[in-house]
């Protein structure tokens, strides 16, 4: 199986879907002549021309709305935000228009479009360029929210998103673009939206995560083997719709759950997941659900502070230990 970068996997997905379907176009900042701010769209403008790979001004509300108009009358635009932070400039267009077009028109038209780009911290980009946006978009009916952690999932999920008839918020992580992984060759790789993936099976604790946090989670799970703790790591991949079955089955087996997100905690994805587990899996739980989240601060610049703001392997290990703490044992302090 070929080993390619995460960014190459995204590019392959877009290229294959554009070759398959001439309604698919790419709209965004620097996607054309510059070949993509993060080189995701490299070569696509040369192949498909300026109308299909459209360089836009730095005007997110305008080009997001433009993509919606085009989607309403039959195109299938992919919108690339240079980073998801900038999508907040288009938040009205996404929440008030894209998400509601189908419902308000009683399905006279829909908004088959993919909104994608990188998010997340770890590169000293500071407070306005490091946010995780999933909870803000998760909240709104009419949108799907997905996030791939591996190159293979990136390709398969993006292809599914492009073929989906709904608006899909497709979250990438800045820190994953260089990551390499095996990706099945050929145009048939589709990862269905709404299906989680057990990236590592285990017996004692269920660890729920997605995107870049998968990697410290897997590392923590490996380290915990030494303590004879078997951790099942579930990569959610799709946040809305959510694969609650897989989550609850796992919790029914392990009786313990830890949620790891880079997202902030209040009203966030971790709270959503633990709430669902309490609501639907309460009788299966032997311990409170632990949440390991990004520190509730705007992302600082200094490298050491930034590292402290993002969940790390030690924090995850501590949380797993806490779920296993027996009465009489003192749970380790967490932050």
């Amino acid at each position: 199986m070929p080993v390619i970068q995460y960014r190459e996997a995204l590019r392959a997905a877009m290229r294959e879907e554009m070759e398959r379907d001439d309604r698919v176009c790419l709209i965004g900042e620097e996607v054309g002549g510059y070949n993509g701010a993060y080189r995701i769209s490299e070569g696509l403008m040369d192949q498909f021309g300026r109308m299909r790979v459209l360089d836009t001004p730095i005007a997110e509300e305008g080009f997001t709305g433009m993509a919606l108009g085009a989607a309403m009358v039959g195109l299938r635009p992919i919108v690339e935000y240079m980073t998801w932070n900038f999508s907040l400039v288009a938040y009205d267009m996404i929440i008030n228009h894209v998400a509601k077009a189908r419902y308000m028109s009683n399905a006279q038209f829909g908004a088959p479009m993919v909104l994608r780009g990188p998010q997340g911290g770890g590169q000293q980009l500071t407070a306005q360029h490091s946010q995780c946006v999933e909870s803000w978009y998760m909240h709104c009916p009419g949108l799907y929210v997905v996030s791939a952690a591996t190159p293979a999932d990136a390709k398969g999920l993006l292809k599914s998103a492009i073929r989906n008839d709904n608006p899909v918020i497709f979250l990438e992580h800045l820190g994953l673009y260089n990551m390499k992984g095996e990706v099945p060759d050929g145009p048939d790789l589709l990862v269905p939206i709404g299906v989680a993936d057990i990236k590592r099976p285990g017996q004692d604790v269920t660890l729920l995560t997605y995107s870049k946090m998968l990697y410290p989670a897997l590392e923590a799970a490996k380290a915990l083997e030494a303590d004879e703790i078997s951790v099942e790591v579930i990569d959610l991949r799709s946040l809305r719709p959510l694969d609650l079955d897989t989550i609850l089955k796992s919790v029914a087996k392990t009786h313990r759950a830890v949620v790891v997100t880079e997202d902030w905690q209040p009203s966030g994805m971790a709270r959503e997941l633990s709430g669902l587990i309490y609501q639907h899996g309460f009788d299966d739980l032997d311990a409170p659900v632990e949440e390991v989240c990004g520190a509730p601060v705007p992302m600082p610049y200094a490298r050491n502070l930034e590292q402290l703001a993002i969940p790390d392997v030690e924090a995850i290990k501590s949380a797993v230990h806490r779920t296993l703490a027996r009465p009489g044992e003192l749970a380790p302090l967490y932050r």
């Binding site: 509300e61 433009m66 108009g69 085009a70 267009m93 028109s105 006279q108």
Partner: protein, 340 residues
Amino acid sequence: MPRRGAAALKEAPASGGASDEAPFSNDQLVDVYRKVLAARRFEERAAQAYTQAKIGGYCHLYIGQEASGAGFLSSIRLGWDYAITAYRDHVAPLFMGTPAGPLMAELYGKATGVSGGKGGSMHMYDAPRGFMGGWGIVGGQIPIAIGLAYASKYRNEDRVTLCFIGDGAAPIGAFHESLNLAGILDLPIVFIIENNAYAMGTALKYTNSRTDLHMYGEAYGMDHRAVDGMDLFAVRRCAVDVIEKARQGRPQLVESITYRFRGHSMADAGQYRTKEEVQEWRDRDPLEWLEGYLKEHGILTEDQIGHINDEVRHEMKEAVDFAENSPAPEAGALYENVYA
């Protein structure tokens, strides 16, 4: 009469080769008259139903501005070109051929409404006829409009998009972003700012750095002009001209200077305007003017006009009956069409 925007009109080029000749055939004129009359009567019935609390929410009426909408929407290819507007959206679909019944039923929140009762007054749609909606956030429809035009250009189709904008949307970022994008991409679109002098209750001079709004087109290298939006013939001449230019890929900006006779919405008594000001504009009522023209030029007799009025009155009564007798949406519709 003192007219707001008169200076802008004087500076603007003549509306597409004005002549004494009516820019409609007699048949077209009768058809436009019928539609303007229907629009007026439809909204009067809507206002009545609103005061009876039979319809809820907001209700923004277009009464007074009909010459503007009629002039433009009688000049496109129905079923081919697109039109999109903001929340003052009852009349555009009527001009585009949507039957009054499903529009009235939408106001009543009925299952038979154009949006299945989920859109209400501000979110009317008739996609098969090219009416791409009523959008409720000021300025929100403008980027969507350029997307419709982008799709036309993408597919090499000679469709034109008409994007209706209120003067209150001119200061909004999306307006400027969209004009810029339309200019960059040479999109087949006509932006029509219907300048009715007030953004809700605040006069134009308090909300806009300049009040000759079509001049914003200058900044984006776009053809721009003002037209007397109370003058059906002037609007029609302008519309035919700008639509043709837009079809050739030259985006156009028109400021149609008009006036709403009633408040911003049914909840607005319009007390920020003087009686004299409102009366001055009511004296130019496009419906009365058109009726006078038809009679004066022997196109319709008094009797024929009476007959058309009877027909329209009957049609609106049927629309109201249809709305009142239609079922509310089934409970199951609550979750329908959130997702495909």
